[in-house]
Symmetry: C2
Subunit: 464 residues, 2 copies
């Protein structure tokens, strides 16, 4: 530990107690990674805070000393947002994990940042309410991280992403100021929309210490459909038909053929339509069984798949079977190729077929295997490229070129480079492909308005 | 015109042509007001721009000279946002009024800022699509103004406000930089959410020159219900019951007794339930007549009003009759008392009865008449206080105390001082009631990140 970090340690110990500081190497090592493959850097100190006041005292000290602070919730991010790449203080919010209030009448939840998203969903559901955003990691990720990243999930097509649910925030600035903004109302024209700005700011502007979320009445009934296709284009045509029919599905996911085949092999025989060129998975929800059945009938009437080929899950077991393949994709990939590149580009819905075709051609020409799947309803496409048997050094050398090309194709199709995972550390060098110089300069000035000394999550979002 | 403005005039004339500049007093006078009562200040020059490039050249000149620039769309705001209170350049965007594209497949509209909101709604509807935000002034206000103010409307309870529809923006900074952000996708984790920040920024951060909006499939069927109540509390209980029943009404408006009586007198006998203590107006929409009827049945089953007292509009004429009173409130007020105070506080839905009771008591104790109405579903309460026969000087002296007290009551009930009209000029001295010193200081730093010389819409939002 250098002298500056040593000084920070001593001052923080005095301010909030030495018992809240970790300096033992073997524990620091646990905070060196999030779920980004191939990225680790241990912090010099881990500070575990329990209140906004403690956060303020720690930040004020670090700000005065110029010591980097990396906020961390559950550490489930996949672009290195919670990795302390410049060392310094890892500010762990893991102890701030209480659901403070669920207000049934105003349909809001007030939570601390380390509440696990799935726990909030269950607490809401017990009261007949629902917190819709459903990132794949919902049983391990924290709501603070969801706000920091602007997390989405399959239900975004009907219910939107995290930003559509943040009504209020308590956050702490590097100078120690604690600010509470927003409240239990969906309309607010009182000054700038800081909730909107902070959601998705990846821990670079402030440390969020309380979150007021909008809940919606739970939909008690749901049904899942699996639709097989002979071409990806036909699947995307039906995505449009379903949306235009105003059915409003709660999820509208796709898998293309390579994703289907890889997963089918991984799962053995237990998968419907393993030979299709594309699958659509549709989830419908509603207030009555009849309302859901009406939606199923509306979909059957507007899509190209003949009714006898539609698999409709009538039970939870059937639902599980339908979603099994979609949920097993990452597992199948990891089993096949532990090292892989995971991108989450987004394109206009209409561009999905052309975009995927171009990406596939580009990767095939390099002899690379890839699988594509994701959120067809909102154009958010997951592209996983497998390293396969390629020697590690060669793969590492190849990744920047792969990213650059995938991003360029997404941008050429009117899309952008990340839909829900964020820029973080791993994509910071590519931000300039998506945003112009003037916009990046502006965003850096916004960053400086919050964090003039640049201590908060340095080297994230912006390249050097 | 002082020498600085004269210099600006000459430089702008050279940059974009003298034919786009107005300096004649009688025309300048037309740009001295928006729809805020009692506020006028003429600009020194009006500049009418047609392209983002022209906006950039004008802003660059004014930024270099330090000349204030007030952007203006249709001038229908009610808090003085478009009034050039410090003189200088009035930047009129009125010529930038084209709908550039409606993309049916991706369900987006690309528009210039001066497109009238109602025109966009009609253009969308012709294609089976819908642009939901519906401020009362929708046939005269412009979409650029809606974005600047974060406009809402009755349909916000189901469909959200303007910020929920802005997918992308082209905007110009004071230094002339033209920035395009966002795109035809609902998920975006690529850098900070500038669309979210700019929506509702009241023309103080940048001049918006293009807007990419999300559209939704149109709901072809709708029905309106009028529900009479003996107490306001019973009405608000039913608001909660309707929302909890997950009916998802497209509008859920209320009028309290003074609003009902004043409007009934203004309209003569042509109003249902003129003696009720509160009305709820419910609009339902859906893809089929049956779906709408199911919603009506669900509502009838969960509210306290007996079925025979519910008026359900079966025809357009009946709908008009139901909405007539709600729409005639402002007209009735103006007829009764041309000078009045119009507030649009917002409180948590559950607080509406207690909040209105307190405000009413406060106003009654001062012998003032008031009418209250608005968006029950989202807690956005319009409070109009009538000056009646009070001498003008006395009234003007009273207004600050009225505002301060109404805002204090809203804040004490967990609300805030404006839900959809913005802070603008008329509420700038009260921002400190709603936001803490640290938040205001932060917002001013954000403002400086966009507009370091403070030329854009000066004296708006922030007090001196």
């Amino acid at each position: 530990m250098n002298r500056l970090n040593e000084k920070a340690r001593a001052m923080i110990a005095e301010a909030i107690g030495a018992e809240n500081i970790i300096v033992e190497d073997e524990i620091l090592d646990r905070y060196a990674r999030d779920e980004t493959s191939d990225l680790e850097h241990a912090p010099d100190i881990v500070v575990r805070v329990s209140t906004a006041g403690e956060v303020g005292r720690v930040l004020k000290i670090c700000n005065e000393l110029g010591v980097p602070v990396t906020p961390r919730g559950a550490g489930t991010g996949v672009t290195g947002g919670a990795v302390p790449v410049t060392g310094g203080v890892l500010l762990s919010l893991e102890r701030m994990n209480r659901i403070l209030e669920i207000d049934e009448r105003n349909m809001t939840a007030l939570v601390e940042p380390a509440v696990i998203t799935g726990d909030l969903q269950r607490a809401a559901r017990e009261r007949g309410l629902m917190y819709p955003p459903d990132p794949a990691s919902l049983d391990s990720c924290s709501i603070g991280g969801n706000v920091a990243e602007g997390a989405g999930g399959p239900r975004a097509v009907k219910y939107g992403t995290t930003k559509d649910y943040v009504l209020g925030l308590e956050f702490v600035l590097p100078d120690g100021a604690i600010i509470t903004t927003g409240g239990k109302f969906v309309k607010n024209a009182t000054g700038f929309n800081l909730c909107g700005l902070l959601t998705g700011s990846e821990g670079t502007l402030a440390v969020i210490t309380k979150i007021l979320l909008r809940l919606v009445p739970a939909a008690p009934f749901s049904m899942d459909l699996l639709l097989p296709y002979d071409t990806l284009e036909a699947a995307v045509d039906d995505v449009y038909a379903i949306i235009a029919r105003r059915v409003g599905p709660a999820a509208l996911e796709f898998m293309e053929e390579d994703a289907i085949r890889l997963t089918a092999r991984h799962l053995g025989q237990d998968m419907p339509f393993p030979d299709a060129r594309a699958h659509l998975l549709v989830q419908l929800d509603g207030t009555s069984e009849e309302a859901v059945r009406d939606q199923v009938a509306a979909i059957a009437g507007c899509i190209s798949v003949p009714e006898e080929r539609i698999i409709a899950a009538e039970s939870r077991a059937q639902s599980e079977r339908i979603w099994k393949a979609r949920r097993a994709i990452r597992e199948a990939i990891t089993a096949e190729s532990p090292v892989f590149l995971a991108e989450d580009t987004v394109v206009p819905r209409s561009e999905i077929p052309a975009f995927l075709k171009k990406v596939k051609e580009f990767l095939n020409a390099r002899g690379l295997r890839s699988v594509m799947f994701g959120h067809a309803g909102d154009g958010n496409v997951h592209i996983d490229v497998l390293s396969g048997g390629m020697p590690r050094a060669e793969w590492d050398g190849l990744v920047p070129e792969l990213k650059k090309n995938i991003y360029a194709i997404a941008l050429a199709h009117g899309g952008t480079i990340t839909g829900e995972h964020g820029i973080g550390f791993t994509r910071r060098d590519y931000l300039g492909l998506a945003l112009g110089e003037d916009e990046i300069a502006l965003q850096k000035r916004v960053k400086a308005a919050f964090d003039p000394r640049g201590i908060l999550n340095p080297r994230k979002i912006f390249g050097d």
